[in-house]
């Protein structure tokens, strides 16, 4: 038999749908501190790429400013569109993508959720599931 077989990764759904497990780390700098994951800085995440997109996950964490919860940051390396997924659920808390502030400079892409409940807690080493759907 000859021919070309094409197969999409996963179950054939959106490449932006998937999950990861974050092991919570802590980092502080200036008036900011955070709990969650950031590459080479704090915690860990598995898998290290976002769903089936190939974009490395740069950060996924709660950020505190001047001691108070300020925002949840999700950043991938690369230029990703503001589409392809609807919700991000972390540890039972669901955030809607359309409520996020989106920015991309071509080398990284961020979704910033202001006013989001903290989802990673404050215990280093805890784990949280993150699900994009």
């Amino acid at each position: 038999m000859t021919g070309i077989t094409c197969a999409l990764a996963g179950s054939g759904g959106s490449p932006y749908n998937g999950s990861a497990t974050v092991t919570v780390g802590y980092f502080a700098a200036g008036s900011f501190f955070s709990y969650g994951f950031e590459t080479s800085i704090q915690g860990s995440i598995l898998p290290t790429t976002w769903a089936n997109t190939g974009f490395p996950i740069f950060q996924l964490k709660d950020v505190y400013s001047s001691g108070s919860p300020a925002w949840l940051a999700f950043t991938v390396t690369g230029s990703a569109p503001n589409s392809g997924w609807s919700t991000l659920t972390i540890g039972g808390t669901t955030l809607n993508r359309v409520d996020a502030n989106y920015a991309t400079d071509g080398t990284s892409t961020s979704w910033i959720f202001f006013g989001a409940p903290t989802v990673f807690g404050t215990t280093v080493g805890d784990t949280r599931s993150a699900v994009w759907a």
Binding site: F32, I41, T75, V98, A100, N101, A103, T104, D105, F114
Partner: protein, 58 residues
């Protein structure tokens, strides 16, 4: 290069879109008045909030 912002005409459009200093593209959920028009001042504040967050993301 300054900040450029295009405001949504109505809630269905949802996002204010534009570019930040340095050229990064952004989309921010706009703030709307009771009549459905975009509250540009409040939306501008959200863009400034985004800039602050991006500056402190690491």
């Amino acid at each position: 290069m300054g900040i450029t912002i295009s405001y949504p005409a109505n809630e269905a459009e949802w996002y204010a879109k534009g570019t930040l200093e340095g050229g990064a593209y952004f989309e921010v959920p706009a703030v709307f008045n009771l009549d459905g028009a975009c509250d540009t001042a409040a939306t501008d504040d959200k863009v400034q909030q985004l800039i602050f967050a991006l500056s402190g993301k690491s």
